[in-house]
């Protein structure tokens, strides 16, 4: 008995030591204090900004390859490799708004000592637009030509297709662009020049490196230079002591980027102090991070979570006599009523609060445009569809939902069996949880289990969204890296049908016309009015249900400072702006 008791006591003592919640705070675990360890959500693609576009490599490349123009965290532009921001007022933008003359900064050198010149700019834009592997062709598709004027001046001309029919032609050279495009002002011109994909690369190095560029050889003009990529999950950079922007202002000598996709493990390594900064956190456990001394930074982001009603669907779409009814004015039929009944049954507020989905790090969305963007409708103006929105219950209205459901014809109602409306969703835990929430909300409000949730891989959803076959609804998210409304309009523009992005196959004349006005105007007020009309029409027709604007959320070691200036709404961080507090 004594023996047994002593074993029990020893076990309890050991357990006490092992499971005691040690509130030690993150240390550096024998790490070099000059090195900042930054967590990426997945292994980066090659560090070649003209070709690859995901957020992981973008975070690394923005410290290596600089763009002509930059955007601060408050969305204002500033010159980087350009000497000044071109405007009509300073004469660097042509009067018709289509030609931008960019005066390049002199005396800038690439990390290998090569001088930065206009040839590198022309070369980089040529790769973005015409390299077979380039994934940013569509984002830069309004660039008609990039021409060298002298070693330190380039002219960038924006344009549009001479005829919309030419959208079926792949433009693979500057000659093709000249043949099929015509000069035009382009609203988001500065935004795309500030986008990380237009980071300028060294012509000589890229040509010499061939296919190894981006993995073994990487060169830029930025505050950090590439050191090594020992394995796919780890990239090492070091400070560019010869940086034209003054290397003395860069606090951390080295950066190590580490890819870690397991969110609970990201929280663990933040607590142990093995890493300094991460955004792919387990939201469930943010409180624990704070209790362990980590700094939590959150701000509004540019990701919008939304639902799609397939206009091609017999159940929730907009058809007339068996054909798509895509005109601005349409006849309200059974499918219109069912669409509205579902719309008014949904309330995203509960799953914004749900600890394992957003855990409060999001706000309800009232329209298909991110707050702060040009054309975002502020408040709830009377007489508009936005008047039905409020922060606490979103557009949820049980009476309206039931009234719309009651308007269904008996024949149509008879067609509706349990789970007859197919809601497809990316096979990712968060998305499936949101879709199940929607299913339950509709069931509770209408008293009928109408929705069937079908998880699918994203590629399949994109494929089906090209033709609108095999689904009635989709739940998905959109991210606008350019910070310009034109990029968000891809979701609902008629010209996006067939690309898989306009999953609703929504094709409204008023919306299309105003998107074109916004895209091809420089005047801010004209653009704003056009985008407001787009949002008003969208919320009238309800081919989408905007649900949530997700916040950007970072956790960082207490030794890292100036987070507010360095962290962007796009989840990217200007690491060279960070400071060292310890």
């Amino acid at each position: 008995m004594k023996k047994f008791l002593s074993i029990v006591l020893i076990c309890l003592a050991l357990g006490g030591v092992v499971f005691a919640q040690a509130k030690k705070g993150p240390t550096l675990r024998n790490r070099d204090p000059d090195t900042l360890v930054f967590v990426l959500a997945a292994a980066p693609q090659p560090l070649d900004p003209n070709i690859y576009t995901t957020l992981n490599e973008a975070q690394i490349m923005r410290e290596i390859n600089e763009t002509l123009i930059g955007m601060k965290s408050d969305n204002t532009f500033y010159p980087i490799l350009a000497e000044t921001i071109p405007t009509i007022q300073n004469g660097l933008v042509s009067k018709d708004g289509s030609v931008y003359t960019i005066k390049l900064r002199k005396g800038v050198k690439f990390h290998n000592g090569n001088p930065f010149t206009a040839d590198d700019v022309v070369f980089s834009f040529n790769r973005i637009l015409h390299h077979p592997k380039s994934s940013s062709k569509s984002m830069f598709s309004a660039v008609l030509s990039v021409v060298k004027v002298d070693d330190y001046t380039v002219k960038i001309t924006f344009g549009k297709l001479k005829d919309p029919e030419y959208a079926t032609v792949a433009l693979t050279s500057w000659e093709d662009r000249a043949k099929y495009m015509t000069a035009s002002p382009y609203g988001p011109a500065l935004n795309i020049l500030a986008h990380y994909c237009s980071g300028i690369e060294d012509k000589e190095t890229v040509e010499a490196a061939g296919a190894d560029y981006g993995t073994k050889i990487v060169v830029g003009t930025g505050p950090y230079k590439f050191v090594s990529w020992p394995n796919p999950q780890e990239v090492q950079l070091t400070r560019n002591e010869a940086w034209w922007g003054d290397a003395n202002t860069v606090a951390f000598k080295n950066i190590v980027f580490r890819a870690m996709s397991e969110q609970p493990q990201v929280n663990n390594v933040l607590i142990t102090g093995e890493v300094d900064m991460a955004f792919n956190l387990s939201k469930l456990d943010i409180g624990n991070l704070e209790r362990n001394g980590l700094v939590i930074t959150t701000k509004p982001g540019v990701t919008i979570w939304y639902g799609v009603f397939n206009m091609n669907s017999d159940l929730v779409g907009q058809k007339k006599n068996g054909k798509l009814d895509l005109s601005g004015q349409y006849t309200e039929g059974d499918s219109t009523h069912l669409r509205r009944a579902i719309f008014y049954s949904i309330n995203p507020v509960p799953f914004i609060k749900q600890v394992d989905i957003f855990n409060g790090y999001a706000v309800p969305a009232n329209q298909m445009m991110q707050p702060g963007f040009l054309g975002y409708v502020e408040g709830a103006p009377a007489g508009t569809p936005f008047a039905e929105f409020n922060e606490k219950t979103w557009y949820y209205n049980k009476e309206k939902a039931k009234a719309e459901f009651a308007m269904l014809s008996p024949e149509f109602r008879a067609k509706l069996g349990p789970e007859s409306v197919t809601l497809v969703v990316g096979n990712v835990t968060d998305r499936v949880k949101i879709a199940n929430n929607i299913k339950d909300q509709v069931k509770t409000t209408l008293g009928f289990d109408l929705i069937k949730v079908v998880p699918m891989v994203n590629a399949q959803i994109i494929q089906q969204s090209k033709t609108g076959d095999g689904y009635d609804m989709v739940v998905t998210a959109w991210f606008t890296p350019t910070m310009d409304p034109d990029y968000t309009c891809i979701i609902y523009g008629g010209d996006s049908i067939g690309t898989g992005m306009n999953g609703a196959l929504y094709n409204n004349d008023i919306v299309n016309k105003n998107i074109q006005i916004g895209r091809y105007s420089l005047d801010r007020k004209t653009r704003e009015e056009a985008y407001i009309k787009v949002q008003t029409q969208l919320m009238t027709d309800k081919p989408y249900f905007p649900m949530v604007y997700e916040n950007v959320l970072f956790a960082s070691h207490p030794r890292v400072g100036n987070l507010d200036q360095a962290i962007f709404k796009t989840k990217l961080v200007d690491i060279h702006l960070l400071t060292r507090l310890q």
């Binding site: 499971f19 005691a20 994934s135 079926t168 993995t215 999950q233 870690m260 493990q265 663990n268 142990t272």
Partner: protein
Amino acid sequence: MPALFIGGAGMLSNADIAFVPDQYFRKGSVMFRYIMRRILMLIPVLLGVTFIVFSLMYITPSDPAQMMLGANASPAAYKQMREDMGLDAPFIVQYGRFLFGYKHPVFGYKGLLFGDLGRSYVSNRIIFELILSSFPNTLILSVGALILALLLGIPIGIISATKPYSVADMVFTVFALLGASMPVFWIAMVLIYTFANNLRIFPAIANPRDFLSLVLPIITLSMNSMAIIMRMTRSSMLDVMQQDYIRTARVKGMDEKTVVFKHALRNALIPVVTVAGLQFGSLLGGAVLTEKIFSYPGLGSIMVDAIFQKDTPQILGSVCFVAITFTVINLAVDILYGFIDPRIKSTFSTKKKLVRGNQ
């Protein structure tokens, strides 16, 4: 591979080792022919594996062209990309290209038969270069896990077998049951929570260049194998301990140590070696979760990333590589088994004599 011989080393006397190359590998010997036959059998097996893997990738709803182009690619650009990548060709043509090569200035490669699947769609690295650079890291983890599993599993198995149904045996049985039934990710998280977060003894991120950081992933990975080896040793030892020759040895007055280690263990370890070999193969393939949780730069992490990103050539390359490794290890275990089991050894010797006699 070296770990395989740890299990077998105790079984081979110096004379046995000297005997092996001389008699077994001589050209025309039964063992030589057996090995050659097994190697030839690898060809259809591997072809079958590549066909199944390729077919699965083909029918999986993934679209590398779309992935490469990103959001909002125009239909024209999408069509062009599919042509460039060779995705518009029929299934059998694509499979043929996968084996024998595809000619294209950007997306071309020599084919699996020539050890070249080109570059990854995602990382743009040469597929087999990436696999071969990360495989040693996985090997370190797997060998470490197998050594730990053998070092603890065999002695515990012996103790359990020599004192069956004792308290120690019960405790170890429960331990084995837990080891076999606990999911890897759960073990990993408990170990990290305890030893990294709270006690701060080991780091939570594993790195092949830092031994201390390998301790937790090795323990995680070895738990399952350790339990199996432990149970295998126990049951095998129990069987052997009831044999007549053990009783005879005891009756002759041999001390218990000699009986257990010299007479019983040598025979009991034969099935353990087979299990250890199979475990090693599954450790190589099964390190995926452990590598992922500990952010370890091994083959498993590459495979998981490739699957998530629909990086078809990287998935195909990695799966084929693992299949080849697994098959080769199985072959090695079979050959090793033939060497260390005296009964099999004598069978081959007898057959050889018979063959010679007939000539």
